[in-house]
């Protein structure tokens, strides 16, 4: 299919009295990995919640897999993992997965598959409360992988993980996109993860600073690494902002 997996048009969202997304637009082609990069508080989580359809939006359109975000038909096709791990603390990892698998109508052997994918086979029978922070967030990620969703929205899935595990998870994300044509929207504030994405959305204060491939961003800003590119873009934005005002 040619159509984008996610199409966002002029999305505005208010949380409380503050407008946190100021009319942003972008597309995510199917089978690609989009990285949402930006400091905390820049609106990444709100944007991801809008894509999943759990956020009350002010105005604008969010279309996911050809349907308005949050449509009942999308609920089993979109996998979502929140920033803080959302699992039942008083259940084992396997019990958590078995429950969400039946809610999603996923086959029973899916539990074993996702446990393998996130590397938690050894902890399957452990109560979630007793897991380490990184293990808990992997358990939460495993829930999002159940049922083979076509779109995965993952909010900071690699926080608190050591570099080896982080690398393995990114191999998994790339594999899902390349092998099964899954579209991924992954947020991070670790710049070195950004280079593993097909495209990057650099966000700051509810706006998109840049929407490009990692290579093109480095080329355009003439910087070696993405951290430098980010700083350069902010500096440029502020310069033009000042120029406009005077």
């Amino acid at each position: 299919m040619v159509s984008s997996a996610v199409a966002v048009r002029d999305l505005r969202v208010r949380r409380g009295r503050r407008e946190v997304l100021h009319g942003i637009s972008f597309d995510v082609p199917r089978g690609t990995v989009l990285g949402l990069i930006g400091p905390s508080g820049c609106g990444k989580t709100t944007l991801m919640r809008s894509i999943v359809g759990v956020q009350v939006v002010g105005s604008g359109d969010v279309t996911v897999l050809g349907e308005p975000a949050g449509s009942p038909g999308l609920r089993a096709r979109v996998g979502y993992s929140t920033q803080s791990p959302a699992v039942y603390d008083d259940l084992t990892v396997a019990e958590n997965l078995a429950y969400f698998a039946s809610v999603l109508g996923a086959p029973k052997n899916d539990v074993g598959r996702v446990l393998g994918e996130v590397g938690l086979e050894a902890e399957a029978r452990q109560i979630a409360r007793t897991l380490s922070g990184g293990q808990r967030s992997r358990a939460s990620l495993a829930v999002a992988l159940l049922g083979g969703p076509e779109l995965l929205v993952l909010d900071e899935p690699t926080v608190g993980l050591d570099p080896v595990l982080r690398n393995e998870l990114w191999d998994l994300f790339r594999g899902l996109a390349a092998g099964r044509g899954v579209t991924l929207v992954v947020s991070s504030h670790v710049m070195d993860e950004a280079s593993r994405c097909d495209r990057l959305l650099l966000m700051r204060e509810g706006e998109i600073l840049a929407d490009d491939s990692p290579g093109a961003l480095r080329g355009r800003t003439g910087t070696e690494d993405l951290e430098g590119a980010f700083l350069r873009l902010i500096a440029e934005r502020e310069k033009t902002g000042t120029a406009r005002r005077t």
């Binding site: 009942p72 609920r75 429950y99 969400f100 809610v103």
Partner: protein
């Protein structure tokens, strides 16, 4: 609503309880222990016979209200509710899942209290047992439904626990336990008429005295209707989208 998801939800909640043996033991045993205590405190078989139906009403309601409001509040704060609201699970799947799981716990609780009261404590029943069980379970369902509803208005577990006296004490004071309802000031009697617990207590007293006779079924219908109403209001507080 999907029956398989409702069943999976009830099973999940029971599994959570299975991992928490202390809570299960307290839910099952505390009412029985209080009943035994009451028996020795009163020391008079006739007075005990009058109090037993009241306690059979209060316990299932109290325990189910507390457990459900805390459990659903946890579900809201831990992010699992948001996850479920983004999934194919229907709101009623969640509410009925809780109702089924805690209803089963209530049945265990009531069975134990009744068994001990009828044998060891010599509670005299002039009628069959099943009408008492019907009222107790209806009241447990009411507690579950009101607990779900109240948890929507609590941000913390401290607040959730405070809803217990708010919901419980006026219903007990106005329920005709301490002062017969027809001897109250007119305004209080009207309020009493509007509170579901008044009907539960009346039904339980009728059941203990004469079985499913007189106004019994009307009272049971009011209790069940209130539970359904509270469940529907509770469903309205579960939002797919949040600000």
């Amino acid at each position: 609503m999907t029956p398989s998801i409702t069943a999976a939800t009830a099973r999940r909640i029971l599994t959570q309880l299975r991992h928490d043996r202390r809570t299960v033991a307290m839910m099952a045993l505390v009412p029985t222990l209080v009943m035994i205590l009451l028996y020795y405190v009163i020391g008079d078989q006739r007075a005990f016979n009058a109090w037993t139906p009241v306690l059979l009403c209060v316990f299932p309601f109290l325990v189910m209200f507390l457990v459900t409001s805390i459990a659903t509040l946890r579900e809201r704060t831990s992010g699992t509710l948001e996850r479920l609201m983004a999934s194919p699970l229907g709101k009623l799947d969640l509410l009925l899942g809780y109702g089924l799981a805690f209803g089963l716990m209530a049945a265990v609780q009531v069975t134990l209290v009744l068994a001990v009261s009828l044998t060891w404590l010599g509670f005299e029943l002039g009628a069959p047992v099943w009408p008492l069980v019907v009222v107790a379970l209806g009241n447990a369902l009411l507690g579950t439904a009101l607990g779900l509803l109240c948890s929507a208005f609590a941000r913390t577990e401290f607040q959730a626990v405070q809803f217990m006296p708010v919901v419980m004490l006026p219903q007990l004071l106005l329920g005709g336990i301490f002062v017969p309802r027809d001897q109250m000031a007119a305004v209080l009697e009207w309020i009493s008429n509007a509170l579901p617990m008044s009907y539960a207590i009346e039904a339980m007293k009728l059941a203990a005295a004469a079985g499913a006779e007189g106004d019994f079924w009307r009272d049971v219908a009011v209790v069940a209707g209130s539970a359904v109403l509270a469940l529907l209001l509770g469903a309205a507080t579960l939002r797919r989208r949040t600000p």
